[in-house]
C-alpha cells in the first residue's frame, strides 16, 4: 500500500488541533501570565519579570502547600501501589469471592470525587457522623478526625485512595495476566517458594504496570484539588491546602492571576521532573522475556 503523507496528516490533524487548543495554548498562556501582574479581571496588566517567582519561593504558604501535597502524594502512591499489587496478586483467582471483591474495590472509581468527598465528610463528621454515632452506640468517645492538620491530611489521603484504588487494581490485574503461567510452573518445579516466586518473577514482570501506575498516582497526588476542597477547603488556616488549591485561591479570591499562574507553572515543572526521574528508574527495572 502506497504511503500517503497527506492522508496521515489529515488523520492526525484533529487530534493535534484539540491538543494544541486545550493543552499547548493554555500552557503557553499560563507561562505568559506568570510573568505579569494580571489580576484576572482587568483589561490591563504589566510584565513584571520574575517577581512572581521570587515571591513564590519566599512564601511560607507555598512551602506548606508543597508539604501537604507531597504528604498526600506519598500516602496515596504507597496505598495505590503497595496495596494495589497485594490485592491484585491476592485476587487474581477465578472464583466468586475474588470477582466480587474486585468489583467492590472498583465501584468507588466510577463515583465523582466530589460525591465521594461529601459522602466521607458525613461519615467522618465529628458531631453526628456515621463513625462517631456507631462509636457512641458502643460507649466509645467520639473521634475528631480533624484534630490536627496531619490527622486531617492522612484522613483525606485515605479517602482519595479509597476513591481511586480500583483503577490501579485493574491495571495490576491486567499486568499479572500478561505473565506466562509456564514461568510460574517452571519456578515451582525448580523449588521456588511463594515469596521467591513473587519477588523474583511476579514483581519484575509487573514492572510495566508499576511504571504506569506510579506515574499516574504521583501526577494525581501532585494535582490533588477536589477532595481537599470539599472536605476542608484547605483549612484550618490553610494548614491542609494543596498547591492547586492555593493557586485557585490566589487567582479567584485574591485577584492575583499572575501569581497563581506562577504557582501552576512551578507545579507543572515539578510533575515533569518527578515523572521523568521516576520513568527512568522504573524503565530500567523492566525485564523482557
Amino acid at each position: 500500500m502506497k504511503h500517503n503523507k497527506l492522508h496521515d496528516f489529515l488523520l492526525v490533524f484533529p487530534g493535534y488541533l484539540i491538543y494544541t487548543v486545550f493543552m499547548i495554548v493554555p500552557l503557553g498562556m499560563t507561562m505568559f501570565y506568570s510573568f505579569t501582574n494580571w489580576d484576572g479581571i482587568s483589561k490591563k496588566f504589566k510584565m513584571i519579570g520574575f517577581k512572581n517567582f521570587v515571591r513564590l519561593f519566599s512564601d511560607a504558604q507555598f512551602y506548606n502547600a508543597l508539604k501537604v501535597t507531597l504528604i498526600i502524594t506519598v500516602i496515596t502512591v504507597l496505598i495505590y501501589n503497595v496495596l494495589g499489587v497485594f490485592l491484585a496478586v491476592a485476587l487474581n483467582r477465578k472464583n466468586r469471592v475474588c470477582a466480587f471483591t474486585k468489583s467492590a474495590v472498583f465501584v468507588p472509581t466510577v463515583l465523582s470525587s466530589v460525591v465521594v468527598a461529601f459522602i466521607w465528610s458525613y461519615i467522618m463528621q465529628t458531631d453526628g457522623g456515621v463513625i462517631n454515632t456507631l462509636l457512641a452506640l458502643v460507649g466509645i468517645a467520639p473521634v475528631n478526625f480533624y484534630k490536627t492538620p496531619l490527622d486531617t491530611i492522612v484522613m483525606i489521603s485515605v479517602i482519595i485512595s479509597w476513591n481511586g484504588l480500583g483503577l490501579f487494581l485493574v491495571i495490576y490485574v491486567a499486568t499479572l495476566n500478561t505473565i506466562p503461567p509456564e514461568l510460574m510452573e517452571a519456578a515451582e518445579v525448580d523449588g521456588a517458594n511463594g515469596f521467591q516466586r513473587f519477588f523474583r518473577i511476579t514483581l519484575p514482570l509487573m514492572m510495566p504496570g508499576i511504571t504506569i501506575n506510579s506515574i499516574l498516582s504521583i501526577a494525581g497526588g501532585l494535582k490533588q484539588y477536589d477532595h481537599v476542597k470539599v472536605i476542608t477547603g484547605g483549612g484550618p488556616g490553610g494548614a491542609t491546602q494543596t498547591i492547586t488549591l492555593m493557586s485557585v485561591e490566589k487567582a479567584f479570591e485574591y485577584n492575583r492571576r499572575g501569581y497563581s499562574s506562577a504557582i501552576i507553572l512551578v507545579l507543572f515543572v515539578l510533575i515533569v521532573i518527578v515523572s521523568v526521574v521516576q520513568l527512568s528508574i522504573t524503565k530500567r527495572r523492566e525485564v523482557k522475556y
Binding site: 479581571i41 482587568s42 478526625f145 483549612g235 484550618p236 488556616g237 479570591e253
Partner: protein
Amino acid sequence: MKKFLSLILCVLLICGIATAAFAEETKIVFCVNIQPQLPLEFWQSIADRYMAANPDVKVEIIGNPSSNVTLPQYEKDLLATDQFPDIMVMQNPADFVPSGALLAFDDGDLDYLADPEVGKIGGKQYVANYKKQIIGVFYNKDMFAANGIEVPTTYQALIDACDKLLEAGIQPVSLGLKDGWPQGQLANMFAGTDLLAKDTHWGAKRNADEVKFNNPDLVKAMQKYQTICTKYCGDNITGITYTQMLEQFFNGNAAMLPIGSWVNAEVEKGLQDFEVGWFPIPGDEDANVVSVFVNEGLSIGANTKYPEVCKDFIHFFFTDKELYGEFLHSEQLFSTTKDTVEYEMIPLRKDMEEQIASMTEVEGFESMTGDDAFLPGLKDYFTNKMTQNIAIGADVEAELDAFDAEWEISNEAIEDAA
C-alpha cells in the same frame, strides 16, 4: 393579480420577520445570590414582577452554579470572560472597582435609601445597599436562668459566665472552623468593640498605611477571641461546620452562638424548646457597641447597554414595599430605605432593634465598605487564614504581622497595576 398579491404578501412577511429579527430587545441579565432563604424562585419572582410592569424589558436571572463557587468568584469569572451581568448582587465592590467593572451611581439615583453615602469608594457610590445585618451573641435564656447567669455586660462577665457554664458541664459557645467563615464573626465582634469603636474609619487609615494590623487594640481583640475559641468551644472546633454550630445551639448542646442576625430566620422556625435571647459582645467596660454589615447590595455593570433600565429595576426593587418586605423577611433583616418597610417580625428581632437603638454602630471588621474596605484578598485572608490560625492557638502578634505582610503584597499589586 393573484401572483401580484402573493408577491406583496411575501414581501410584507419578509419585512415583518426582518423587523422582528433586527429589533433590539431590551434584555438585562441579573446575577443573584442564591441561598436557602432566597432561592432562585424568589429572585425570579422579582424579575417577573418587573417584566409585568415593563413588558418591553426582559430580565434574565443567573446565579452562582455551585455552593463551592462563591458569588464574587463567579462574578470575577463572568467579568474575565466578557459575560459580566447588567445588574448583580455585589458583596465586595472593592475587588471590582479598580478594574472599572462597576458603574457609579449619579447623585440622587439612590435618594430612596436612608444613607446613600455609606460605602462610597473614592467619593463614588457603586452599590445600592439593600440590607443591614448585625452580629452578636444568641443565647439560651433557659440555660442562663437555670445557672443563675445574667446577660454579660463586660468582657470579664462573659468569661465568668463561660466558666460557670463549663462548671455545670455545659459547652458555653458553639463555634466551628470547618466552613472557614463562621468563626470570623466572633473575631469581627471583638475587633469592632476594641478597635473600630475608637475609630470608625480605621480601615481607611490602614489602607493609607498610617496604621498596622499589629496594634495594641487589635492584639487585645484577637486575644479575647482566642480565649473564647480555645477554652469555651469544646474539643472539636476544627471539625464543626456552620450547620453543626446551629444544631449544637438549637438542640440545647451549647449555651451561646456568636453569629449574625440572619440566624433569626432559624429562630423563627421555632424548632428549639427554649427561649432565645441576644446580646452584643461586651467590651471591657460596657456592652454598647454593635458591629453591622452593610456590605451587600445591587450594582450595575459598567458595560451595560441599558444603564437607565438597570437603575429603574433597582428603584423598583426598593420601592415595591411588598417585594422588598418579602426580601427583608427572608432573614429578618434591617431595612436600608428611608421609608419604613413592614414585615412580620419575630419578638427577638424587635428586641434586637430596641437594644441597638442606643448603641454605637461600627461596620463589621472584615466587611468594611467604601474607602475603609480591605484591599482585594484580605477579607479571605482574615477569615480563612488568620482567624482560623488564632482559633487553634497561633501566636496573635505573629498572625497580625503576617496579615500586615499580606497587606503589603496586595497593596503592591494595586500599585503595580496603577
